[in-house]
């Protein structure tokens, strides 16, 4: 228990990085995932194909490889630099890789939601003169979102836990990396280990409850 108390400030700082990565990841992956699903259901074959290829490549690549590619390939080789500060730069590289990865899962969850919306809804939207984008954003996606709030919650929970592999993208300040560093000097400590488990559960459990509650509350009655 003493180790946990002694290293708590360091671990808390590390955990705060996971929280920040999660916040960026939630916002960015939901936006990107929505754009991807719009591409996948669009009437334009090129957009559909691009969306399908992206989702299938990213979804079937291990996250560690996505993050390593973001850091080594995009940042080091191709010169994508967010900041002169190495730690800030790697934070955003990892946030980007994580969002790119999670967006593929968001897209597929949303696409399942789109399939729950009866065809007649889209026909009625077209029949009053809404364009494809309008019927997607005003009629189809709002109903699709409501149908998949709970599965989206699961995707978000997975993403929050995935912030602990940030090391693969060269970001060494997160809680898992900090824990490993502490263990390197003190040896493995069960209290520290459990302390981090509790911290992550404090983040993810409410998301599970909240999305479950929202799913019931916002369900579209047909």
């Amino acid at each position: 228990m003493d180790e946990l108390i002694k290293y708590a400030p360091e671990l808390a700082l590390g955990f705060w990085e996971n929280v920040k990565l999660s916040l960026v990841g939630v916002v960015a992956s939901l936006i990107l995932g929505t754009i991807l699903v719009a591409m996948r259901v669009s009437p334009t074959p090129v957009l559909r194909a691009a969306g399908t290829v992206y989702v299938n490549v990213i979804r079937n690549t291990p996250l560690t490889l996505v993050l390593a590619f973001s850091a080594l390939g995009l940042s080091d080789q191709l010169g994508l630099v967010f900041s002169e500060m190495p730690t800030t730069n790697s934070f955003w590289i990892v946030a980007m890789g994580l969002s790119a990865y999670t967006s593929a899962f968001v897209c597929e969850a949303l696409r399942a939601g789109v399939n729950t919306v009866p065809l007649g809804q889209a026909e009625a939207a077209r029949a009053i003169g809404l364009t494809f984008i309008q019927s997607l954003t005003m009629i189809i996606l709002p109903q699709a979102f409501r149908a998949v709030i709970a599965p989206l919650g699961s995707v978000m929970i997975a993403m929050i836990k995935n912030t602990t592999v940030a090391t693969a993208g060269g970001f060494l300040l997160d809680a898992a990396a900090t824990m490993k560093e502490v263990f390197d000097t003190t040896g493995a400590s069960i209290p520290i280990f459990l302390g981090l488990v509790v911290a992550f559960m404090a983040l993810t459990l409410p998301i599970g409850f909240l999305t479950g509650w929202l799913a019931r509350r916002l369900a579209v009655v047909r």
């Binding site: 003169g129 809404l130 009629i139 009655v221």
Partner: protein
Amino acid sequence: MTENGDATPLVQLENVNKHFGALHVLKNINLTVSRGEVLVVIGPSGGGKSTLCRAINRLETIDDGKIIFDGQVLPAEGKALARLRSEVGMVFQSFNLFAHKTIRENVTLGPTKVRGVAKDAADKRAMELLERVGIAAQADKYPAQLSGGQQQRVAIARALAMDPKMILFDEPTSALDPEMVQEVLDVMIGLARDGMTMMVVTHEMGFARRAANRVVFMADGQIVEENTPDEFFTNAQTDRARDFLSKILTH
């Protein structure tokens, strides 16, 4: 019958063909709908009536032939097609009210988002239309809270809110409980009296008799017969139509 004295037909179909795979659902259809006319399309199931109706606002594409609406060939896609659809109302068999929007929002969505009407004006007009179809008291409910007949009347109000040049009715009473059919037909008869151009696919012979200017009988993808309701129901010219009528009118 014509509202504005314009003699050109509102809708013209010229040699329209459509296949669903091997099935030839529309065979060389030639048909015109005049302004202010109420055209009822009847015939056996699977005869192509719904497909014909849906082709007019291009919810179904056609393989060849020409459909001209208000002097213009139907646009294939994009903004021009959306504009055409905003001028043609459509009422579906299964109502298709937007399930996540209130009754009022269902009616105001088109005018505000497609026509750019201010929200206040759209709201006011929506309430007038809902009043007209007898649903004003339910304006803030969601579709699932209404009966089928009420939902279908809202769907008619939603179509009317766009001030369409024509309304297509695709079997509007077929999904309704029997006691709700009349309330929907009453609204439709009112529209017909007010001079709305209507194409109605239906099995309601009473409506055809009371409100139609012309009856088109379709079977096996072809227009077999067209005539005034009186002539058609009392003196059908073809065996196919007589056979159909004998099956539905004997009891």
